[in-house]
C-alpha cells in the first residue's frame, strides 16, 4: 500500500495521526458481562483498520474504550501521547477532542440545524468563557463550514438534521467529527443503517479521510466484503477475544468462518460495488 508515501506527504490539515495501543485490556460490565478479554494490539498512525465480528462480539466496547466512553476493567489504553485509562474531567475531554467518532444511528440532534450539529466538533477547543456562553470563534465557524464542504453538505447547512436522508445525516456526522480536526477517527458500524449504494458512498468517504487527511481510522463492521474492500488490516473479534489480525484483502472465507464461529451466510455480505 501507499502508507509510506502518505506519511511523507503528511502536511495534512491541522493535526498528525495518532497510533493506538491496547495492553491486556479487559472490560466487564457492571451486570457481569465480560465484553473484552485480555485484548492487546497496536495500530500504527495512519492505518485504516476494520474490527469485524458478530453482534455481541465486543466491537462497540472495544472502540468505546479508546475515547473513555467505556472504562476498562483492567489493562491500559493509549492513544497518541495520552494514556486514556484513569483520565477524567478536563483531561479526558481534551483527549476526546482529538478523537472523532461516528455512529450507526448518526446521533444528530434532529430538530437542530446542520450547522449547529457540526459545530459540536469544536466544543472541546472552546475556552472556558466561550464554552460557557456557547459563542464560537470565526475560526470555529470556518473549520465547521470547511468540514461540511468536504463531505458535500455545505448547501444543507441551515437544514434541520432530522429532515435529511440517512446517508446525508451520516455525512453531517462525519463533518462533525472532522471539524474536531481529529488525530483518530472511530466509526461504530457507520453503514449498518444505510442502503447498499449509500453504504458504499459513506465507506468511500472514510477511505478518503484516511488517504487525504492521513488519519488513523478504526471502523467496526459486521460485513466481510466491506472490510475486505475498504480497509487494509482486519481485526477479528469473537466473544471479546481477538481471533484474527492480519491483512483485510487477503482474508479467506475460512478466516471469516473462524471469526464468526459459523459458516458464511448470504447476509454476511453487503454486495454492490465489486
Amino acid at each position: 500500500m501507499t502508507l509510506d508515501t502518505r506519511a511523507e506527504a503528511g502536511t495534512g490539515p491541522a493535526s498528525a495521526a495518532w497510533p493506538i495501543r491496547l495492553d491486556g485490556v479487559s472490560v466487564t460490565y457492571p451486570n457481569g458481562t465480560a465484553a473484552l478479554r485480555d485484548v492487546s494490539l497496536t495500530i500504527e498512525a495512519g492505518e485504516m483498520v476494520s474490527v469485524v465480528g458478530l453482534s455481541g462480539s465486543g466491537k462497540s466496547t472495544l472502540i468505546r474504550t479508546l475515547n473513555g466512553l467505556v472504562p476498562v476493567t483492567s489493562g491500559t489504553v493509549t492513544v497518541g501521547p495520552h494514556t486514556v485509562t484513569g483520565l477524567s474531567g478536563r483531561r479526558l475531554r481534551q483527549v476526546r477532542g482529538h478523537v472523532g467518532m461516528i455512529f450507526q444511528g448518526f446521533n444528530l440532534a434532529t430538530r437542530v440545524d446542520v450547522y449547529r450539529n457540526t459545530l459540536v466538533g469544536r466544543f472541546a477547543q472552546a475556552g472556558a468563557l466561550r464554552g460557557f456562553l456557547g459563542v464560537p470563534t470565526a475560526h470555529d465557524r470556518d473549520v465547521t463550514l470547511a468540514a461540511l464542504d468536504m463531505v458535500g453538505m455545505l448547501d444543507k447547512v441551515w437544514t434541520r438534521a432530522g429532515s435529511l436522508s440517512g446517508g446525508q445525516q451520516q455525512r453531517v456526522a462525519i463533518a462533525r467529527a472532522l471539524s474536531q480536526e481529529p488525530s483518530i477517527m472511530l466509526a461504530d458500524e457507520p453503514v449498518a443503517s444505510l442502503d447498499p449504494p449509500t453504504a458504499h458512498a459513506v465507506m468511500g468517504e472514510l477511505e478518503r479521510i484516511n488517504a487525504d487527511h492521513h488519519l488513523t481510522v478504526l471502523v467496526n463492521l459486521h460485513l466481510m466484503d466491506l472490510a475486505r474492500q475498504y480497509t487494509h488490516r482486519m481485526i477479528g473479534l469473537r466473544g471479546g477475544e481477538v481471533v484474527y489480525d492480519g491483512p483485510a484483502a487477503e482474508a479467506t472465507e475460512a478466516d471469516f468462518e473462524q471469526i464468526y464461529g459459523r459458516r458464511i451466510r448470504p447476509q454476511d455480505r453487503l454486495g454492490g460495488r465489486t
Binding site: 476526546r96 477532542g97 455512529f103 440532534a109 430538530r111 472552546a126 464554552g131
Partner: protein, 274 residues
C-alpha cells in the same frame, strides 16, 4: 414426535401462555372502590354529603341565579383596569417562569444532569412547590409581601415552574438522546451539550408547556384576588360581598371570554409548534 401425533398440524408451533393479569387488576379496582366508599362513612370522619341542605337552599339559589342572569353592563368600565392587572400577572408570571424553567428542567433530567445528588435536590424542591396548592401559596405570599399583584405574580411563577419543570424533565428523561453521546465522545462539557443541543432539540417541548402555563395562569389569576393577591378576582370578591350579582355576572362573563380567547390563541400556536 411419535407417529401418533402427526394428525395434529405439524407446522403449528407452541403458543406461549398468556400472562395472568386479572388478579392484579381485580385487586386494584376493589381497593379503589373500597377507598371511595370509606371516604363517605361519617363514622370515620368521612365526607358528609347532606342532600337535605341542598334542597333547602334551592330557593335562595334560584333567586341568586336569576340575578346572575341579568348582567349589569354599566359595570364593564370598572372591570377594565383589574382585568388588565390579571392579564399582566398571567403574562409576566409565565415569562419569568419560562426563564427559570430552562436551567431547572435541565438540572432535573438525567440525560442533561448525570450528577445524581444535584438532580435529586432540584426534583425535591420542585415536588415541594407542586405539593402546595396554588391558593395556599397565594395566602402565604399575601401574608409575607402584602396584598396586591406581587403575591399573585409570585404564586403564578411557582405554580408554572412546578408544572413546566416536572412535565418537560420527565419527557426528556423518557426519550433517547443519542446526540448527547456523540457530543460527549467529542469532548464537550455537559453545559456545552445542554446549551448547544439539548435545549434547541427540546425547545418545542418547552414552548408547549410555557403556553399551557399561560393558559392556566389566566384562569388561576382570575381567582387569586379572592385571597388578596390582586387582579379581577379581588373585584369579584368585593362585588360578591355587596351581593351585587349583576356586577358579578359581568365579571364572570368577562373571565370566560378572556380565558377562551387566550386558550384559542395558545392552541393555534401550539399546533404550529408541533
Amino acid at each position: 414426535m411419535t407417529p401418533g401425533t402427526t394428525a395434529e398440524p405439524a407446522t403449528r408451533s407452541e403458543l406461549p401462555p398468556r400472562p395472568r393479569t386479572w388478579p392484579r387488576r381485580t385487586l386494584i379496582v376493589s381497593a379503589l372502590a373500597a377507598f371511595t366508599v370509606a371516604t363517605c362513612l361519617p363514622a370515620i370522619g368521612g365526607v358528609e354529603i347532606d342532600l337535605g341542605a341542598i334542597a333547602q337552599n334551592w330557593r335562595r339559589g334560584a333567586a341568586n341565579l336569576s340575578a346572575l342572569l341579568q348582567p349589569n353592563w354599566a359595570f364593564v368600565p370598572r372591570t377594565v383596569q383589574p382585568m388588565l392587572e390579571t392579564l399582566q400577572m398571567a403574562f409576566v408570571g409565565a415569562a419569568i417562569a419560562a426563564a427559570l424553567s430552562v436551567p431547572l428542567t435541565l438540572w432535573a433530567a438525567r440525560p442533561t444532569n448525570p450528577h445524581t445528588p444535584s438532580r435529586l435536590a432540584v426534583r425535591a424542591v420542585i415536588n415541594v412547590i407542586r405539593a402546595v396548592p396554588d391558593l395556599v401559596w397565594a395566602t402565604i405570599l399575601v401574608a409575607m409581601v402584602g396584598v396586591g399583584a406581587l403575591p399573585g405574580l409570585l404564586t403564578l411563577v411557582l405554580f408554572d415552574v412546578g408544572i413546566v419543570v416536572k412535565l418537560v424533565s420527565e419527557a426528556i428523561d423518557s426519550a433517547d438522546h443519542p446526540y448527547l453521546e456523540a457530543a460527549r465522545a467529542g469532548g464537550a462539557t455537559q453545559h456545552q451539550m445542554n446549551r448547544g443541543l439539548a435545549l434547541p432539540q427540546n425547545l418545542p417541548l418547552f414552548a408547549n408547556q410555557w403556553l399551557y402555563a399561560l393558559e392556566l395562569n389566566v384562569r388561576i389569576s382570575a381567582i387569586l384576588g379572592i385571597v388578596g393577591a390582586g387582579g379581577i378576582g379581588r373585584l369579584l370578591d368585593e362585588r360578591f360581598g355587596f351581593f351585587a350579582y349583576g356586577d358579578v355576572s359581568v365579571i364572570i362573563l368577562e373571565i370566560l371570554v378572556v380565558v377562551l380567547i387566550i386558550e384559542a390563541a395558545s392552541h393555534l400556536l401550539r399546533r404550529r409548534l408541533a
